[in-house]
């Protein structure tokens, strides 16, 4: 049986009817057409579904929509500025950190969370903060470079 849930999504209040054990990821993608978070592993290993929930990175494939009722959710889309990429998203593009692109929305959210808490992270701190996001294309060097560049413009 579906229930009504409301929460803040990328700054907007939304209400959505869904089965209570749908994952937040399913609701975002299937009910609200917010498709930047991806389901790759579905079990907490890859980080492609990373979103901010009340200011913290979480895996939206491991959060029930019931648990997100009333929360504040931000996806990669939520960091855009007037329809354009923000400085983190630009740094990823400009540093060749995006190849197939599938994992990137998760990396963007983890990077935004890192830089908001730690504006000038060391390489070790970047690696720790992004350890839960897997990328099978880039080998990470360009991603780390992009985060460093983004932190310079922070």
């Amino acid at each position: 049986m579906e229930k009504l849930f409301s929460f803040k999504l990328n700054g907007r209040q939304v209400s959505v009817s869904a089965p209570p054990a749908y994952t937040l990821l399913e609701v975002l993608r299937e009910k609200l057409d917010v498709t930047s978070p991806k389901e790759d592993c579905g079990k907490g290993e890859c980080g492609a579904c990373t979103v901010l929930m009340n200011g913290r990175t979480v895996l939206s494939c491991l959060v029930l929509i019931s648990q997100a009722d009333g929360a504040e959710i931000v996806t990669s889309e939520g960091f855009m500025r007037d329809g354009s990429p923000d400085h983190v998203q630009k740094a990823f593009i400009e540093n060749g950190a995006v190849q197939c692109g599938h994992c990137i929305p998760g990396f963007i959210v983890s990077t935004e969370a890192l830089l908001s808490r730690n504006p000038k992270p060391s390489v070790e701190e970047i690696k720790t903060a992004l350890a839960g996001n897997l990328c099978r294309c880039t080998g990470y060097a360009s991603i780390i470079r992009a985060v460093q560049k983004a932190s310079e413009n922070n």
């Binding site: 054990a21 494939c61 648990q67 983890s110 839960g132």
Partner: protein, 295 residues
């Protein structure tokens, strides 16, 4: 039942949660951070008609000190533990263990109560809690009881918890200088990994600083439940610390383990690395002690 078909009851208060459990404990499973339970429900290893969502009960999310006792609400996340300045200064090994669990996304969501309730042999907060002689508080709608953590784990994924009870608090005596401790774990990569073997050691230094006057050693992922290596502890206690002696202690601890072979490592490998972990842990405690002694 598929994950999507499970009903969810959202508790707003602890009393609310306990009375729901009292009324329908056979058909409902508590869920907190969900980082294990949701995966298990997806994979159908957890079967339930209903989840009781307790993830947003504010009453069970706290870390505080009362006199010499540290109390951690069961819904405290690993991030809460890692960021607690009180725990960083008085219980380093629990912070170290929390930092090695999963990724940041997992640490932001997963709870210490969930780690106990899930009862994986590789649960990483469990060896530190053994080495701290912690107590687990469980409650139903009428009573609460305190269970020593070693008695809480009954066997492989079996815990001393009735269907109408919730884990509500973990408590232990604060670890003071000259008490100290550390946590180490070995896995197949540097970050975001499951323990092949983990070790927590809590010590009290003798005043002359060349031996431990008290020591507790706990091992994880090498038996159906975590275990205290009591023969190893006896051997270490009040014996002057020296290279060979520490290696001997490690061998004794290894003999107290009963690991299995699985996809991550064969049993003999797990047994073989226990002395190395104990050696590293002892050396880091010795180095810390020397650092502290410098004027």
């Amino acid at each position: 039942m598929k994950l999507n078909e499970i009903e969810v009851v959202s508790a707003k208060t602890l009393n609310d949660a306990l009375s729901v459990l009292h009324d329908q404990s056979d058909e409902i499973k508590p869920i907190a951070g969900g980082t294990d339970a949701i995966i298990q429900a997806k994979e159908a290893s957890l079967q339930t008609k209903r989840f009781l969502d307790i993830s947003s009960l504010p009453e069970l999310r706290y870390i505080r000190r009362e006199g010499s006792v540290i109390r951690i609400g069961a819904l405290s996340t690993y991030s809460d533990i890692i960021e607690s300045s009180m725990l960083n200064s008085s219980c380093r090994m629990l912070v170290e263990a929390s930092r090695t669990i999963g990724s940041l996304q997992i640490q932001n969501r997963a709870t210490i109560g969930g780690n106990l309730g899930n009862a994986s042999p590789a649960g990483d907060t469990i060896p530190p809690l053994y080495a701290l002689d912690a107590n687990v508080k469980v409650q139903n709608h009428e009573h609460s009881r305190l269970v020593p953590v070693e008695k809480f784990f009954l066997g492989y994924r079996k815990i001393d918890l009735m269907p109408d009870e919730l884990i509500t608090e973990i408590s232990f005596e604060a670890v003071e200088d000259p008490y100290d401790g550390t946590f180490l774990k070995l896995g197949l990569r540097e970050r975001h990994f499951i323990s092949l073997v983990s070790l927590a050691i809590s010590v009290k230094w003798a005043p002359d600083g060349d031996r431990f006057s008290n020591v507790r050693v706990a091992l994880g992922a090498v038996a159906p439940v975590a275990l205290r290596a009591r023969k190893c502890e006896e051997y270490l206690k009040n014996r002057t610390l020296a290279e060979e002696m520490i290696w001997n202690a490690g061998k004794i601890a290894s003999g107290e383990s009963s690991p299995i072979s699985d996809l991550r490592a064969p049993a003999n490998y797990r047994r073989a690395v226990i002395p190395s972990l104990l050696y590293q842990a002892a050396q880091s405690l010795i180095a810390d002690r020397q650092r502290r002694q410098k004027p």
